[in-house]
Symmetry: C2
Subunit: 416 residues, 2 copies
């Protein structure tokens, strides 16, 4: 059996890493850094994308299951979306005020998201979650934010998972509970002593490094009921999940609607945009807060968002993602079994997370990811992955041919 | 003398305002809303820009002195910058990691900004000021941030000028002092009792609604000396001023260099980008904090920034802006005198602020701005304005022909 493939060319990538280390703290920072936390073959710098493929700076091609960590939802270089954006770009992006796309996108979101009566736009997912929290505080006149332990809602001082540079005051208004645990949520409510402004939750548990956990219907309905009972805002954080689970809202399956939802990532297929949508009850409060940004009114990303959401809706993009995601999950599971691995895949098939049984130090999953990357399949060993409407069953079939070899190679490194 | 001109066409703008009010809190929010705070003729929605001109959605043309509140610095639809951005856009923006532009832009900033040894990138000016503050706290292990009263450093809960939705904890680590007043800064230092992480200041006082005030050399040198003495970070907030005053840093004129500088707005001529640059002493701390964003590694805005900064440097864009700004200030001042107005113009000529004497309720400046807008000159009655490298002396001469009429009209409304 052929096991180790030749390492792929890494000349340009290595040179850029060295240059980056000289002029950027840590070389590359944030969720995209590969230094010290990813398998050795993982590329750091990329040159281009098309459909469901990306190319690194050494021109190695990958079938991409990261979708830029979510922003790509309808294929890299999607011609319809890029044409809509380019048509506005030649006219201008940041102007002296918003363009017509601002209104058209707000109307489209109100039409698309079941609970939405209004929309506001920003540039980061963190902007969107923060606007929702500030709006909740303005409406309720209360301070405390209840969030699930380990849940990621952004990288500002309220939320960042790393305490460096964070003060006690930054977290003074946050109380944590356990996801999918209503008793724990009730305990957090009690601890707040009537001062709960908002409860924020993701539609399912997608904390990095942990098995994903779908919300139970009981939890979803309970969050809604508790927020209503105590007069707090219920904020659904769909920054990561938006338009991949249900165009109308991730908890429509439970008949549960939040007061506000935060979107970003896939909303404009990679153009920088975030949105908050909300119900009538929070509209006046949302108008009373001061939030703004230098580029927030730019028309290009909004034109791209209108094109993205329209395309996903008209082509049933979510069904396409699910078909590809299901095929990949089933294929990986049977390959793992054939090679004697206990592979644990969790979360929605369009946003899979994988780990190996008895692999607490991630050695097997790192080896497997490394082997897959060297064969042109871009997976992630400890973060959820993403499917897009551009992932075809052919892409999945090709990727599975390569992952079968990657399992074999991994088995050779970890003999039974 | 012809005074009131025919109101310009506002059909499309009015229709969009009505539609926006239905689906967006407040219609338009933030610094670009015109509802209830701007003269009646002011347009709200825009369709395009070219050079130093913008067109509203009714196709009225304006000589633009707002530059999108700063992002436009080298002309709308600048062909060189847009070509650089488009060349990356066809390859992809958000990919699985940064592009080569990430490294090239960091190197260019280190070459351009005198005190910079490293750079990090984000999407909002607020991101940049916040990253600098968190980095300062990580390096010093202290908490307090000293800022000038009324100084605007962003729209997050630490900084927003409007208290709606802001909690006591959000501001618990901030102590204020008076700009250009070292005794006041020393008092703030004393109040912090050894716990100062950072002092943040803009290069000059540009608070909306107030006369602008240049920093004195004594103040600039004093801020640097005090920060050094107490072991705190000195952060210069150049989000608004960056690359309009001095490519190497706004306080180079005083021989004063900060520990970190925040940039955004003009850095990429309208493409969404922010940057923090810093000195070696803060590099390790900057690598230790967790900040990131879904679109922060996108190559398009970085390619645009490389092109923008290169163009400004190679063509001495700041000299061009100053020539236009000086001509406009001189022209306005003599026109105002000829019409019997006491016009007060403050701040650098490239970022002018104007008000009328004895006009506490802004009635005269609103009337003047309204008259100028109806004649195709986009001014602002209570916020600083901006010049770009695309503003020619011909643009200024044409604008001055129209402002002379606007002064005359204003005089007719406020007879001597």
């Amino acid at each position: 059996m052929t096991l180790l493939t030749t390492p792929r060319l890494r000349t340009a990538d290595s040179a850029l890493r060295d240059r980056a280390l000289a002029v950027v703290p840590g070389g590359v920072y944030g969720h995209m850094t590969v230094l010290q936390q990813m398998p050795p073959s993982y590329p750091q710098f990329y040159s281009r994308g098309a459909g469901a493929r990306v190319w690194d700076v050494d021109d190695n091609e990958y079938i991409d299951f990261m979708c830029a960590f979510g922003p790509m939802i309808a294929g890299y270089a999607n011609p319809v979306i890029d044409a809509a954006a380019a048509a506005q770009q030649v006219k201008g992006d940041a102007l002296a005020g918003p363009s017509r796309h601002f209104v058209e996108l707000a109307e489209l979101l109100v039409d698309t998201v079941a609970h939405a009566d209004w929309a506001m736009f920003a540039k980061n997912g963190t902007d969107a979650t923060s606007i929702a929290v500030v709006t909740a505080r303005a409406e309720t006149g209360r301070t405390k934010l209840l969030k699930a332990r380990k849940a990621y809602h952004g990288a500002n001082a309220w939320f960042t998972p790393n305490p460096a540079g964070v003060t006690a005051a930054d977290r003074a208004d946050i109380i944590e509970f356990e996801y999918n645990d209503l008793a724990s949520l009730e305990a957090a409510v009690a601890e707040a002593e009537g001062d709960v402004a908002a409860i924020i939750v993701p539609p399912f548990r997608h904390d990095a490094l942990y098995d994903q956990e779908l919300a139970t219907a009981e939890f979803a309905r309970g969050v809604r009921a508790i927020a209503t009972r105590i007069g707090a805002a219920f904020i659904l954080d769909e920054v990561r999940t938006g338009f991949r689970l249900d165009m109308a809202g991730a908890w429509e399956q439970f008949g549960v609607r939040p007061d506000m939802t935060a979107f970003s990532k896939g909303i404009a297929n990679g153009y920088s945009l975030a949105a908050v949508v909300g119900g009538q009850a929070y509209k006046e409060a949302a108008a009373s807060i001061y939030v703004t940004g230098s580029f927030w009114m730019g028309g290009v990303a909004m034109a791209a968002a209108v094109a993205t959401l329209t395309l996903l809706r008209d082509t049933n993009g979510i069904r396409t993602m699910n078909a590809a995601g299901s095929a990949f999950r089933t294929g990986l599971q049977s390959q793992a079994a054939a090679h004697g691995f206990g592979l644990v895949q969790t979360g929605p098939v369009v946003m899979p997370f994988m780990r190996f049984d008895d692999d607490a130090e991630l050695r097997q999953v790192f080896a497997f990811t490394d082997a897959a990357v060297r064969r042109g399949v871009l997976l992630h060993p400890w973060h959820n992955m993403f499917f897009s409407a551009a992932h075809t069953l052919d892409d999945v079939a090709t990727a599975l041919e390569r992952t079968d070899e990657a399992f074999a190679e991994t088995r050779s490194l970890f003999p039974l």
